[in-house]
Amino acid sequence: MEKGKNIINKKVTAASLLVALGIIYGDIGTSPLYVLKAIVGDRPINEMLVYGGISCVFWTLTFQTSIKYIYLTLKADNRGEGGIFSLYALVRRYGKYLVIPTILGATTLLADGIITPPISVASAVEGLTIIKGLEHIRTVPIVVIILSVLFFFQRFGTHKVGSTFGPAMLVWFSMLSILGLVQITNHPGILKALNPAYALRLLTEYPKGFWLLGAVFLATTGAEALYSDLGHCGIRNIRITWIAVKTCLMLNYMGQAAWIISLGENSLLGRRNPFFEIMPGWFLIPGIIIATTATIIASQAMISGSYTLISEAMNLNFWPRIAVRQPTDLKGQIYIPSVNNILWAGCILMILYFQSSTHMEAAYGFSITITMLMTTFLLTHYLLYRLKWNKILVFALFLLFTTVEFSFFIANVAKIRERWMFLFFELFIFMTMYVWYYARKTNNRFIKFVDLGKYAPGITELSKDRSIPKYSTHLIYLTKANHRHEVEEKIITSIFARNPKRADVYWFVHLNRTEEPHTLEYNVTELVEDSVIKINIDVGFRIQPKTELYFKKIIQELVVNKELNLHSRPDGSTKYNTDPDFKFVVIEKFLSVENEFSLREGILLNSYFLLKRLGQSDEKAFGLDKSDVIVEQVPLVYQQITNIELKRQIKKLIP
């Protein structure tokens, strides 16, 4: 399957290019709806502003998108997959501190994702207000309806409409370039704006020109998505389509600029959006429909991207386990109800709070600058340690991109005022990831492992001891022990303590999350033939584990290969039912009252167990059927309270 996937990724066909166009360019491709409007704003129109703005957009797309993402970052593919977590999985062994930039990058990517659908859809729908007779139409309810329908249909998957995304985006990009070209022919002088000198003049000579970078940055906010969607399209398809996409985008940006310049020196743009103004009157309605469709596709990409991001975060232990569904048989297509609900609520709140795309422009982009800075930091490690590039070259690239991105960050800081409510959302995501990751680490440090080989004879003896009632034919424990001959102490306690659990075969199953995205392999070690068996299953971080299914498949393979005998044991229980029964034992931990914590540890661990309660149960997360699972509660003692002064009262006997 993995091989097949890579072959598809390497192939470049008209169909694969069309798929790439439909999946990855929604965000960056719909930026012309609002970028130039945001740059000019209510400033008087002049050559320095308009030419400088276009020059900034062009060079931003060149540096940030073409060089950083299309050329450099796409190199960091993790078995064909991209995105900040894939990058982290590639470099995490080179520094424990890399966790923080990863969490920060993922947090900010998710946070700004909430504003992408409302700003895009609102920008498109607001086009209606320039149609005669619709000048006063209320666009907010329309945006709310479109977004609500979009989020509602997520549960059914996108397999039926997905095939139309590519052609729809092809129509969109064709429209962008044709509309732009018409305007450029009226004012060919706009081509001069590609000269970087205009960008430099705008930033250094125009009053408060540097702060315009906050608006310019909107042109490249979708660049991170190119990397996140690497797995869907493949590097060559992305690189080839980008040439066409960038050309279409620049033609449209320059066309809009040409129209703005034609308004005359010192005139004002007012409430007009140059994107719609360059459309001929007869084309307005079809143009708005095409634009709205493109923004819906862009929103869809953002929603799917958020599911993938959270799913990867769960598999890399950055996020509590939550329900993940597969709406279709399509590989990799997932639907996460809780994320869907949060995103829907967030998007609706955004449009209700900001009311228009213009207000959203003033809040959009800040978080993405942080994501990009974090990606640069992780990418530097990849180039340095994995690709072993020259240190000076890597440092120079790091310096270049950090300078560019830090400038954008500073220019976007002013937006915090407009987006203060995001800080709560960002803090919530960041703290969830931070608490989950570090508390789990703390938790892991207190798990004691023992030599399974030492207990194997005792387990065999118990298995044959008929004086003890049989607990199950097959007893399966999920273990965290990576090595073949070890299990957790609590598992041994569970087998022998209280009522010993007698079974014919004891299985110890370990799920190992690999740094590769799509691995699904296993190995079997028989510690005692046919009675104590350890299974290690390697599961890629993009795969939702289905332990019971894997386990039963492994059993089938062992039986077919005559390595395991399921029915040979003579036992009273098989007289009426010859089928072997499987019982999974899941050991759930809870914080013991005997603990004594420092403030940080106390907050961290209590928050962790609270999140655990809110999230999915262990048996569901491991893909186990409830009927086959026994859940045992085990108290966790990290640091026992030691200074207890308990005095015995000596009662005098009354004579």
């Binding site: 995490r92 062994r93 424990k96 232990n317 570090y438 789990r440 680490k441 703390t442 938790n443 892991n444 440090r445 207190f446 798990i447 004691k448 492992f449 023992v450 030599d451 080989g453 990576n482 090595h483 001959h485 102490e489 041994i492 306690t493 190992n512 999350r513 690999t514 740094e515 003692v637």
Partner: protein, 96 residues
């Protein structure tokens, strides 16, 4: 990547038949006994290393070195505190 010596000790120790060892700590103290368990660093996947070892007297090794009330017998020593280990089985010494 630095070699993780905790796993070198792990691999050698769990192949021994005579599991009695003498551990010399960096502060000069000596601990005698057998290893009944170990604790890993919090990292998951390939980054794990053994951070602590649970050592008990050979007589206390049953029930993985835990008494009837769940209290650990013996002592838990940190990998980084170990200076050297003397293995009784082959009379060899592993220095850290």
């Amino acid at each position: 990547m630095e070699k993780d010596f905790s796993w070198v000790l792990h691999d050698k120790y769990f192949k021994l038949t005579n599991k009695n060892i003498e551990v010399i700590l960096r502060n000069g103290r000596m601990v005698r006994g057998v290893i009944v368990g170990f604790f890993l660093s919090g990292d998951e996947g390939s980054d794990q290393s053994i951070t602590k070892w649970h050592i008990v007297d050979e007589m206390d090794a049953i029930n993985h070195g835990v008494d009837g009330l769940g209290k650990k017998k013996g002592e838990v020593i940190r990998q980084r505190d170990i200076s050297e280990i003397h293995f009784q089985e082959d009379d060899s010494i592993m220095k850290f």
